[in-house]
């Protein structure tokens, strides 16, 4: 066995892959949340639609997105492999269970992760797949309609936002004097429709509670696994893991369906 293979086939090597993929997914969450904050703007979805177009067409981001899909799969596959090995390490379980003090989230990462994987599949089917499907279907047969925005460049105010009739469009931005016109796929409308269903909103909120618990353990655990743990900076890692990843990010994401359901 080559040394490289030996490293990543060892227990610690497999755990390192879990840690690194997990932390990469954490950084993705920061980007995803900050971009999606555009949903909170009252501009008929202009900023959000422009952002969606940028994320799906800017080449470096497309490359990163493929790395991201691979990361999600790696994290899932390694979690399954490690869980199977852990089960094998204790073939006969205790009659009296396990009463050792440990956090609920830490003990149930597998269940939490499974719920999150289900969420990612549904989430991607409803937004990512709908958005991309049009690239592969015949021209004009679009599931997501286009919208035209006109902005006054002098004042920065939106002059009009108009749904375009079905037809053959492409993303475009052009200026006529002081008026900027943007034609973009109206993903914002898809979001609005989805977030008007109470059960869908509920599912998203449950998923974000799950995310919070998963990251409450996952973030600091990754640092333990990498060996980047020391009493000097351990409190900082726990602080970031708790407040940024288990509170701010899940609350920010959960606020989107809730705000759309109640206030839009």
């Amino acid at each position: 066995m080559s040394e490289f293979k030996q490293t990543f086939n060892s227990s610690l090597g497999k755990k390192l892959i879990m840690a690194l993929t997990g932390l990469f997914l954490c950084t993705f969450l920061i980007v995803h949340l900050s971009g999606n904050l555009a949903l909170f703007k009252h501009d008929n979805g202009q900023a959000f639609n422009a952002y969606a177009n940028f994320m799906t067409h800017f080449p470096p981001i497309r490359v990163i997105s493929y790395i991201l899909y691979l990361t999600i799969l790696l994290h899932t596959i390694y979690a399954i492999v490690l869980t199977i090995r852990n089960r094998r390490a204790r073939p006969i379980s205790y009659v009296s269970g396990n009463d050792s003090p440990q956090a609920w989230s830490a003990k149930n990462m597998g269940i939490l992760g499974s719920i999150l994987f289900l969420f990612i599949v549904i989430h991607m089917k409803d937004f990512w797949f709908k958005y991309h499907k049009d690239d592969w279907s015949a021209k004009g047969a679009y599931t997501i309609p286009f919208k035209e925005y006109k902005t006054n460049l002098v004042t920065g105010e939106q002059i009009s936002a108009r749904d375009l009739p079905p037809g053959d469009y492409e993303y475009a931005v052009y200026n006529e004097g002081s008026v900027e016109t943007m034609i973009a796929k109206d993903l914002n409308q898809t979001v609005e429709v989805a977030f008007k269903q109470w059960w869908y909103v509920l599912f998203y909120v449950i998923a974000m509670v799950t995310l919070s618990l998963h990251l409450l353990h996952g973030f600091q655990s990754a640092f333990h696994t990498m060996g980047w743990i020391h009493r000097k900076y351990k409190p900082i890692i726990y602080f970031i893991g708790t407040w940024l990843f288990a509170v701010i990010i899940p609350v920010g994401f959960a606020a989107m369906p809730v705000v759309y359901y109640f206030f839009r």
Partner: protein, 261 residues
């Protein structure tokens, strides 16, 4: 011998030998004194079993003062029972109440096969130690004490790791039956000291390789081991092991010791 006033119901794992499947058997422990240790209570039960002509309950014990690491009972869902930072032999019956049902099981891990009843074979730990848990120094004249200066903080930290008695409670408590707290402690005690530096990078690779070979599980940093360790070895030891392992694998020249794949 038994003149106390506690009456208990024991549910004990009985298994004839490694090959025979075991089962839980219920016993009565009567007239138990609250001042008895847990093992003395089992002695009383065994005495009555012997008098009745039954096979006594087989369990591991040796020093009975919490330093040898031999006793190993999983009591009511916790290794070494409900108290913190003690071994089973230091657990007293006053920690239980009259009429209580106590479930006693052996350590459960594929790498710790049951020998008989409550005793398990922990030689997997010995093999991990033999893979690198030592410092090779050729014999010669006795060196002066304090010849090698070691800061007190470092000496204390190394000593904390070295207090591990290899009882295996960490494996028993871990939901993944992982031995990483034990291996982490054994690696850390040498990695911190000057004498351990020579073999530092090969040691960590060899010991981790042997640990994997024995079939222990993979740590998920839940911290049950730290909570149950009778010697209060901390999770930081696992962090140090991880750090040394990746350091050795990615940045050092040393390979694992010969004979360990």
């Amino acid at each position: 011998m038994s003149n106390g006033n506690m009456n208990l119901t024991l549910k004990v794992w009985r298994q004839k030998d490694a090959k025979t499947p075991g089962k839980m058997v219920t016993y009565k422990a009567e007239n138990i004194s609250p001042d008895m240790s847990f093992l003395e209570m089992l002695d009383v039960v065994n005495e009555s079993l012997t008098l009745k002509g039954e096979e006594p309950i087989y369990f591991d014990h040796d020093c009975r003062e919490g330093i040898c690491g031999m006793c190993s009972l999983y009591i009511n869902g916790r290794p070494h029972g409900p108290k913190r930072a003690i071994t089973t032999c230091q657990l007293h019956m006053r920690s239980f109440h009259d009429g209580q049902t106590i479930t006693i099981e052996p350590w459960r891990a594929a790498a710790f096969p049951v020998v008989k009843d409550l005793a398990v074979d922990r030689s997997a730990f010995d093999r991990i130690q033999q893979a690198g848990g030592y410092v090779s120094i050729n014999t010669g004249g006795v060196p002066d004490a304090n010849e090698i200066p070691i800061p007190k903080v470092i000496a204390d930290e190394a000593f904390n790791s070295a207090t591990c008695i290899q009882c295996g409670a960490c494996v028993a408590a871990c939901k993944n039956a992982s031995a990483m707290l034990f291996v982490g402690a054994k690696i850390t005690q040498f990695a911190l000291l000057p004498q351990g530096q020579t073999e530092r990078w090969s040691r960590v690779q060899s010991m981790v390789a042997q640990m994997d070979k024995e079939g222990f599980g993979n740590c998920t940093n839940t911290g049950a081991c730290e909570a149950e360790c009778p010697k209060e070895i901390t999770l930081m030891n696992i962090g140090r092991m991880n750090n040394d392992f990746f350091n050795a694998k990615f940045f050092k020249e040393e390979k694992a010791h010969e004979g360990v794949e």
